[in-house]
Symmetry: C2
Subunit: 205 residues, 2 copies
């Protein structure tokens, strides 16, 4: 072990995980190297491989989405179904305003353009385990289609606000954004969706 | 010039641009190299630098958004303002269904997580030159805020459908998606938005 570097104690894994989450969020997947994470966490690079294996294995282990469907779904469907969009919007904004959660969410959205493991997390953890069951729990038709529409707006908001940092969206208070996007999320959750209309697709292809 | 490679004729620039757009779309910005573009376009790599300079200069030159606000805005605001969301949704889906347009749009969304030049294009070309003026032309209040909300949904849809390829969204006919997202875009374009409410932000931070 090099001098000044942390030994492989119980805190080392967490130090590596924290550094990895922050760097994946700030630099994106491709530009984050194991060596850079090791330097940031002040540990020997060999320890990273020892604890986590390859870069994609490290990514999958530390950058899971900070979402617990078992608590989130009951909280969002509690109360008037006509205001569930507001509660889902508040949940989505909370993922961006808490530093530790934002690092994970931004890491995944950034990596989704490069790394299949990140797209898997967006598909499974965000959509299949949270948003689609939410539409099912609220009693809506076509829950999987609604789940994928909801995912498009929630991920797009993360990209626009936390990555591209487009103004005035990036500096608007979360409560105001919640109120602004709630009607769109409500529409995707419970609003009328068009039936499949054979023949009409050709007008837009 | 190496044998079998195209000389620097008038078609070479276009061959380079076409290969670059496709590879930036398929591989993302970081994983697309000048050498790979040169091989794909069957030209000498020195020609790329000669014509376009650095990789970021090539990106900026060939991957601009296929959007002409001077024709798009009048077409979207023509007719009933209450259905402008449908016309904007059709415009957004058309960017994904035409191959040549999709390569450019996907290139930019993929690169937005890594390269400032791509975020500049999303900010200026998509939001400042198209979406915000659209909200202004339709007579809505706070057009810049509406422009950034519209951008979040349009970019999120591109990410979900063309990059993550989430199902059933990715295989749903464009006309059906247009009808599904139109009410959300209509809300961002002309719907009531909450006023800035001092004190309420704290509940979500």
């Amino acid at each position: 072990m090099a001098r000044g570097r942390r030994p492989g104690d119980g805190n080392t894994r967490e130090a590596i995980a924290t550094s990895a989450r922050r760097l994946f969020a700030e630099l994106g997947y491709d530009r984050t190297t194991l060596r850079r994470i090791a330097t940031d966490a002040d540990v020997d690079v060999a320890l990273l491989s020892h604890y986590y294996g390859s870069k994609v294995q490290l990514f999958a282990a530390v950058v899971d989405l900070p979402i617990d469907p078992a608590t989130a779904i009951p909280r969002i469907i509690a109360g008037d179904p006509a205001t569930a969009g507001t509660r889902l919007a508040a949940f989505a904004l909370d993922l961006q305003t808490d530093d530790a959660k934002r690092h994970r969410v931004v890491s995944i959205v950034r990596a989704a353009t490069a790394e299949p493991e990140a797209t898997r997390i967006m598909r499974e953890r965000l959509t299949s385990e949270l948003l689609t069951p939410l539409a099912t729990a609220i009693g809506s038709d076509r829950p999987a289609y609604r789940g994928s529409l909801l995912m498009s707006q929630i991920v797009g908001l993360t990209l626009a606000r936390a990555i591209v940092q487009i103004e005035p969206l990036a500096s608007t208070p979360p409560a105001q954004i919640v109120a602004s996007i709630a009607p769109a999320l409500q529409h995707y959750l419970t609003g009328p969706l068009p039936e499949d209309q054979p023949g009409t697709a050709a007008t837009n292809t």
